[in-house]
Symmetry: D2
Subunit: 145 residues, 4 copies
Amino acid sequence: MAALGIDELHRFLAASFPQVAGDFRILRLDDAGIAVAMAVADRHLRPGGTVSGPTMFALADVAVYLAILARIGPVALAVTTGASIDFLRKPAPGKDLRAEARLLKLGRTLAVGDVLVFSDGSPGPVARAALTYSIPPGTVRPSAP
Amino acid sequence: MAALGIDELHRFLAASFPQVAGDFRILRLDDAGIAVAMAVADRHLRPGGTVSGPTMFALADVAVYLAILARIGPVALAVTTGASIDFLRKPAPGKDLRAEARLLKLGRTLAVGDVLVFSDGSPGPVARAALTYSIPPGTVRPSAP
Amino acid sequence: MAALGIDELHRFLAASFPQVAGDFRILRLDDAGIAVAMAVADRHLRPGGTVSGPTMFALADVAVYLAILARIGPVALAVTTGASIDFLRKPAPGKDLRAEARLLKLGRTLAVGDVLVFSDGSPGPVARAALTYSIPPGTVRPSAP
Amino acid sequence: MAALGIDELHRFLAASFPQVAGDFRILRLDDAGIAVAMAVADRHLRPGGTVSGPTMFALADVAVYLAILARIGPVALAVTTGASIDFLRKPAPGKDLRAEARLLKLGRTLAVGDVLVFSDGSPGPVARAALTYSIPPGTVRPSAP
């Protein structure tokens, strides 16, 4: 049961993270998870035209964060407490990125999600990541799965 | 294209890891990945009947390892070089564990897989993990995806 | 300021984790952290005499766990929620392991520590790990650093 | 034995990563590791004045990368293959960051380092991270420790 839809998440992102909101666009949101596209700009690149590691990390972080907010609503102040990421392949130069994230746990104080990052036009993932968020007490009702 | 089937992997496990092979049983092996069951014994438990973290780590490690061997064959000496794991829920006491692993990358020198661990009878995963293995040079042919 | 000393930690380990307590011995406990030795037995080995990954994971987990209990006392039910580990070198066959752990954060709901694992007689670490524990609310007083 | 000193590393950074080189300054380089300062700018901030997670990730990544280059020289094309990071405390608003990194392993094909990130004026670390890099074969001589 979603607390926020795609349009509401886009508005929340624009209001709360104006510096980066323009980089991200939600493509899909359903019970299986969320898909988020990232427009790759010059500032995200490294020599040779590849996308930087921190850029892929930022996309993975945003994707899982939005998957959590879609469930608990915009009032919650969720904070990233930990992350692991593996860089699997070089993203194709000049191609946008797409993250496919799913929520694995939404507990009373911790939420965990994982994500695969794809480079447009390439079949295999360019990165995988898992992220943990601290949820303010009282945000998630006991009935949440 | 598998290099080894379920029976061959069971034989390899019994021959190479006699101390732990009896704990594990491959349930499924296909292009999507591998499912491995673990019989939980007293030595795997912690106070309250829950399964220990190192036990879930061992299952995740074996599952991805077997997914790699299924592709590159038993001659390869793959070694775990890194891992991340999140413990999501308490496994149910007295229930066996099941790992669902998939191979995300099989490169010339590194292989990466991720895995969800389930406790029999509970819907959500009890753990997630990602593991990286070093592959001896010359093992994976250039044509491997 | 320690809540528990080495003798009390040994007694807690023996009472709460009788299955594994005999494997571990605290060598040092001070403001900088804790050093824990692990007696390597046959059941911890892999072909070639090397120590298994789950064994090194278990040692790292225990070392940080004890570093937390030394600060918050034995009443607390701290649970490992996440971990990352890198295996750096092959442990020497027939040698015991030693973990050097330090507490990086002791918050109201989360504690984080990291650890280096050494193999007796070898200079470089054989593994590094970082572990996160969930702390029951009300355990850590606001004045804790 | 260092292959590159601080001035050479600064020149390498400016030539190879012109988009971000101005953010970083090496404070110290010795056998124990490297200290790298990051000037925090508006684009690195999140609501409330705190530094973004990807910014701390970028600093940790650069610090370990430079610790590796200091040992193997600028010819090597080291690539980040994996990372784990824990965010421990909120960085102080308006304060620069400092990373203290050390090299834990410099192997023939993999290098691993870990790092603590500090916020100027606060005693405890604001983040910890460990990063793995793939080293091109033939770069590290067998005699390297």
